[in-house]
């Protein structure tokens, strides 16, 4: 009998796992109670949620859920499949057999994968801050801090650049112990929480600067922006009336802020002052009324849920730390509870216009802003007449704060179950955004009724949807209705409208499926954007990777190239057209992209029902003879209408991942880049003279630029790796920072490029010995720019063992390209002759080896001369490679060096690709400068330029106008700061309008001088 019941419950569980009810595919709702615990009847309210930004398949959640077996550790909810399935893992100390923990929230570090829970222990009520290095392992979390306090609210981020790069910054807002001043709003902060032993640098500070009526409210919320801006929000209690049990509180809603420093200073979060009283902390709303008591028999309630003045939320736009959203609750009339949503575009300084939303009869507000700048607002509203009231859980979204969508995620009973502690929903829930998607959690009555979930729902616990009853894990009977936590995910772009370019393809069945962020460690080699020299139908190899050609530079048709892309969408859908925009950048890391070609962006038509299209004809673009042909190629796509645009900022003028606020290519599936330099090399033992033939003399070298695309000086870390079999085949590879000694290639090592100034370039050189791979085999070495353990960008330099004839032809083409470049840049007739000579020989269908030998003999001297000329003034010295002058390997290495030197000289004259970065740097320096004359105009015009540029509405053509408009402001600043260097460089700007490059160079000189002046004023070491 038992077995038959068990079988029945399994069948019903299977039915429950199927989505119940009609719903939209882009909204997923899951009752998180695991199947094993189908018989549980606890009220698992007040939930919270964390999503690992580095791996959104990893989620952790919390609620008032006890360890099901009553063990000593309280559980968290764990999902490793993006929220589809959940387990309970017991790892929090102090399990209370009824509630697990008391208040609990949790967050992941930005890149570390480390989970930071903040709890009130279930056994002692002590406030604990914890760390779980592997939240799936079920090992007890490490205790970092334990003391008193209420409602710990955790936020965390990983520093992606600048000082402390890679460290986890964790902020725990809580209401601290009562002190005579009544200033209890507290934030406890660690600037390096991931690895340091307890207390991991945690230290509390108060964020209240005014007097209170005895304390602040319990809810202390924080929001962190990747640029280091930290916001805090709290209720300041100013008066209390009534009582003795139920009191009416008068409160202000106060916003505090720290600017770009991760709240690391001695007086953190004091940057925003109120214009009224001059105190730190902007009074966004004053004199608000709140009901409050701690007497559970008298709790003011909405439905069966208590109202305890804990309802605040705060979110900052990840694209722009100036834009901040807040929500709070108060009592507008005599018995209501009303939510208010407001937005500031000025870092909280001003709050113009009406409220974005005002919702009456609702509680538990939660805000989040996704990578697109779209704000989400989650709340729960009481509806219906007494006796049959409902809790409706709404998610509203808006791009502008005026027009809102409204999705009801759940419409569940507010009457059942009957609770005796007024903790029906709890004092909070949570909403967050990772990339474009919103994730959230809420508590609701768990009756399995299809109509309760307008977008469908999945129950992991056993349920009979026909009868509308819950079933036990096994055996007969039904289970009473209780409160469960419900997870939801809103895929912002419906799958049939979500177009993407693969970041990687490993094989026919293993490729990027449009995840954000994509998870492959090599996202810059096998992507679906590539170049061809002929506008012919694209081909794909056996691994389903596009067959790409090197880019070619030159005058006329010689410099003609064709960019291609293959585009997928997540699900077949109606006919649609996708716009593609191609860009290129110098080869390396941190280099800014610029538009490839002036032709209109191509459109790729998807017929109805199709989910993949490849461009049949390439996008024509031309590479001038002055440009190096060692480039990165990028693409960003936009779906039809407004359904699936790329996420601003555009790659134009930007480098993926920098300066700290730029979205990584991996985080936006509308963007992809190919960033690999392939060096054909001779095969070990094959002949005598092939480039890359045996021995050092046959080695070949590749160069790459490392560019500091941030707006502050920093140390750049480049980690390089290769598969063990590749290392073995490469044999004797070396890596060097140009100007420093070469070091043997050891996979996993890191190069530290210290104190790089904004816009500064340094060069890496990798030298391969004699590869022993198969013919045509690509032997890549990967270089990744690291922020802690997160790779934010990368490139690859690969050896490709090739037949001698192929190597020699490649080298001859490089000879043509490099001398063509030199001729175009310097006007050298000798260089033009060299280029023509190579072009002539390349015109032969077959080139006998002896012709190469002759060419080398006759043109080797010109190469030596060209190198000597190019090195002049750059600080480069000849590399000390042991070698055999006159050999093809030597020839190839010298050509690569000459190409690099030409780029060095070119960039030294200014870089139009860096114009956007220069303006961003200007904005950030002027923010630092504060009240410098002209700052207001500089900040205003910079913001306008940056906004237009990142949306691709403005380009470099607008740059001279910007600088011209600000010349007066520059001069004013130079005079006010009494800096001759500033005055000199400001004057230099006026004569820099001869070209975009010259203007950018002059502008950069001015900003370097300004940075030095500000550093000196701040007592910092001036930049070297």
């Amino acid at each position: 009998m038992r077995r038959s019941f068990y079988r029945l419950s399994i069948l019903l569980a299977a039915a429950a796992l199927a989505t119940a009810g009609a719903g939209h595919a882009q909204i997923q709702v899951v009752d998180m109670t695991p199947q094993l615990l189908s018989g549980e009847t606890t009220n698992d309210s007040e939930p919270n949620l964390a999503v690992d930004p580095a791996n959104p398949l990893h989620l952790a959640a919390s609620a008032f859920t006890p360890d099901p077996m009553g063990g000593p550790l309280a559980p968290i909810y764990v999902s490793t499949d993006g929220g589809g399935h959940w387990t309970l893992n017991s790892l929090l100390p102090g399990n209370d057999p009824v509630h697990g923990t008391h208040d609990v929230t949790l967050r992941f570090g930005g890149a570390s994968g480390i989970l930071y829970p903040g709890i009130l222990r279930g056994d002692t009520t002590a406030l604990n801050i914890l760390r779980a290095a592997d939240f799936t392992a079920g090992m007890p979390a490490t205790l970092l801090v334990s003391h008193g306090g209420d409602q710990p609210w955790v936020q965390a981020a990983t520093v992606m650049g600048g000082g402390g790069a890679g460290s986890d910054r964790v902020y725990v807002g809580y209401n601290g112990a009562l002190v005579p001043s009544g200033q209890t709003a507290t934030i406890e902060r660690s600037l390096d929480a991931a690895t340091t032993p307890a207390p991991a640098g945690f230290a509390p500070f108060t964020i209240e600067t005014r007097t209170t009526s005895g304390s602040d409210g319990a809810a202390i919320r924080t929001a962190i922006h990747p640029d280091g801006t930290v916001y805090g929000l709290f209720y300041r209690w100013t008066d209390e009336t009534g009582g003795p049990s139920v009191i009416t509180i008068t409160a202000d809603v106060v916003l505090v802020r720290s600017d770009y420093d991760w709240a690391a200073g001695a007086m953190p979060l004091m940057a925003l002052t109120d214009p009224g009283d001059g105190h730190a902390g902007r009074l966004v709303a004053t004199g608000r009324t709140l009901p409050f008591t701690s007497d559970a028999t008298l709790f003011p309630t909405l439905g069966q849920n208590r109202l305890l003045s804990s309802n605040l939320s705060l979110a900052v736009d990840p694209r722009d730390s100036d834009r901040v959203w807040i929500a709070w609750a108060d009592r507008v009339g005599t018995a209501d509870y009303t939510l208010h949503v407001r937005r500031s575009e000025t870092r909280g300084a001003t709050w113009p216009g009406p409220e974005s939303l005002t919702i009456t009869g609702a509680t538990n507000p939660a805000l989040a802003v996704n990578a697109r700048g779209r704000v989400g607002f989650l709340y729960q509203q009481l509806a219906g007449p007494a006796g049959s009231r409902r809790w409706q859980t709404h998610l509203r979204r808006s791009d502008d704060g005026a027009a809102w969508t409204d999705d009801v995620l759940a419409d569940t009973s507010a009457e059942e179950p009957v609770v005796d502690d007024a903790l029906f929903l709890g004092d909070y829930l949570h909403l967050l955004a990772v990339g474009k998607d919103f994730y959230g959690v809420f508590a609701a009555s768990n009756a399995p009724v299809t109509a309760n979930f307008p977008h469908g729902v999945t129950y992991l616990r056993n349920a009979d949807w026909t009868a509308g009853t819950l079933l036990p894990a096994s055996g007969p009977g039904t289970v009473p209705v209780s409160i469960d936590p419900f997870f939801f995910k809103v895929t912002d772009t419906p799958p049939d409208q979500d177009f993407y370019v693969r970041d990687w393809t490993d094989g026919a069945t293993s490729a990027d499926a449009g995840q954000e962020p994509s998870t492959h460690p090599v996202f810059f080699v096998t992507s679906d954007v590539w170049n061809q020299l002929a506008d012919t139908a694209p081909a794909f190899n056996a691994a389903d990777q596009p067959v790409a050609s090197d880019v070619r530079n030159g005058a006329g048709a010689l410099g003609d190239n064709f960019a291609f892309a293959r585009v997928h969408r997540k699900a077949a859908g109606p006919a649609a057209s996708v716009q593609l925009h191609f860009l290129y950048a110098n080869f390396g890391a941190g280099l800014s992209y610029q538009d490839a070609g002036a032709a209109p962006d191509p459109m790729l038509a998807f017929p109805a029902g199709s989910s993949q299209r490849t461009m049949a004809a390439g996008y024509p673009w031309h590479l001038d003879p002055t440009a190096s042909d060692h480039l990165c190629l990028g693409v960003e796509i936009s779906g039809p209408g407004t359904s699936d645009p790329f996420i601003p900022p555009s790659l134009a003028g930007s480098s993926p991942g920098w300066p700290s606020t730029d979205l990584r290519v991996t985080a936006d599936n509308n963007k992809a880049q190919r960033n690999i330099l392939i060096l054909p090399t001779g095969m070990a033992g094959a002949g005598t003279g092939g480039a890359g033939g045996a021995g050092t003399s046959g080695a070949v070298s590749g160069f790459a630029i490392v560019h500091n695309a941030a707006t502050f000086p920093r140390t750049v870390e480049i980690r390089y790796e290769a598969a063990p079999e590749v290392v073995k085949k490469l044999g004797g590879a070396r890596v060097e920072v140009v100007g420093q000694p070469a070091r043997p290639f050891r996979s996993g090592d890191t190069l530290r490029l210290e104190n790089m100034q904004p816009g500064e370039n340094r060069w890496l050189r990798v030298t391969f010995g004699a590869p022993s791979g198969r013919e045509g085999e690509i032997l890549p070495v990967y270089f990744r720019e690291m922020a802690g353990e997160a790779a934010i960008n990368g490139f690859a330099i690969a050896a490709r063992p090739s037949p001698l004839a192929e190597v020699l032809r490649h080298d001859l083409e490089t000879h043509r390209s490099v001398f063509s470049r030199m001729a175009a840049l310097t006007g050298s007739a000798a260089a033009a002759v060299e280029s023509r000579a190579a072009a002539l020989l390349l015109g032969w269908r077959e080139i006998p080896e002896q012709e190469y030998q002759t060419f080398l003999r006759e043109h080797g001297r010109a190469l030596e001369d060209g190198l000597a000329e190019a090195r002049r003034g750059t600080g480069w010295k000849a590399f000390g490679d042991a070698g055999d002058p006159g050999s093809p390997g030597h020839w190839a290495r010298q050509l690569e060096e000459l190409d690099a030197l030409l780029t060095v000289r070119q960039l030294a004259a200014g870089d139009p690709a860096d114009i956007l970065q220069t303006v961003r740097w200007q904005r950030d320096l002027y923010r630092r400068a504060g009240a410098v004359p002209g700052a207001e105009a500089v900040l205003r015009e910079s913001a306008r330029f940056i906004d237009g540029y990142t949306r691709r509405e403005l380009g470099n053509a607008a740059y001279p106008g910007l600088v011209k408009a600000l010349l007066g402001s520059y001069r004013e600043a130079a005079r006010a700061l009494e800096s001759p260097e500033l005055e000199r460089t400001a004057a230099g700007l006026e004569s820099g309008f001869s070209s975009l490059a010259a203007l950018q160079k002059a502008h950069r000189s001015f900003l370097l001088a300004l940075q030095g002046r500000l550093d000196r004023a701040a007592g910092r070491t001036p930049p070297r």
Partner: protein
Amino acid sequence: VSALPFFKVAAFSRKESGMQRTVRSLSLRGLFLSGVLLAGGVRLPDAAAAPLDLRQAVRNSQLVFRGTIKRLGAAAMAGVPVSASTAVVSVDEVISAPAPVGDLTGREITVALRQPMREGRQAVFFATGWIYGTGLAVREVDRLEGGQTTAELRKAVADAARRNEEADLAERLARAELVAVGRVVRTVDVSREGHRPRSEHDPDLFHALLQVETVLKGAAPPGGELSFLFAGSRDVAWRRAPKPQEGQAGVWILFRDERPGLRVDGLTAFDPRDVQPLERAGTVRRLLASPPRP
């Protein structure tokens, strides 16, 4: 009388599959007869191995079951980190289990083994919860191998649990300032005397006036009455604290300064164990007179 013929308790270490294994075996029948188990703890004849302390095993575990190792280095459900110490174990019989996990009999669960064990071997596992999903994963706390019957095991485990509970109560009684049998005659809300509420986690203190019948420990109050404080709050922080009602009779176990960080002036009863039903007065007396070993 020698118990040895029945007292088939053995602990030994031996090599098995190249790994050091520790196996304990005992006849619970023998233990009952010998009374050793009832005295708490079992001293095994082989001093080289740690003795099984059944009470400790029961104290540290929530699930006791007889199971057979099916697969080593494996897990019975997704989401469990598999390692060399995880095993899929079939639950042959449940000895003791909390209700929320339902009847596990016949199911395969994952056990993180404390000591290596060979596939196909059966044992009684003492385990604590680890991961709950479509199935169950537990961490082994201790293990018994032997031929004892299910009824014997259930009785022994229940008895150990009862003794643990009594030991805990005895420890609490030892720390208490006053233990009395009496009846609550009045409760008074004193939560707002001198302060306004600051947090939903405030205890909302009440005074209970207790008419004392018998003082079991401590000084008798003058006039036969005393008052103590209790937490009226039903917030999560205090929900499990005693909520004495007027007219409620019982054994009251009262403390001073029982909660760190909470400054109260007077006797308090904050722990769920601080009020015991009248019918346990005898037990309380016994435990005060002759405390069991911890």
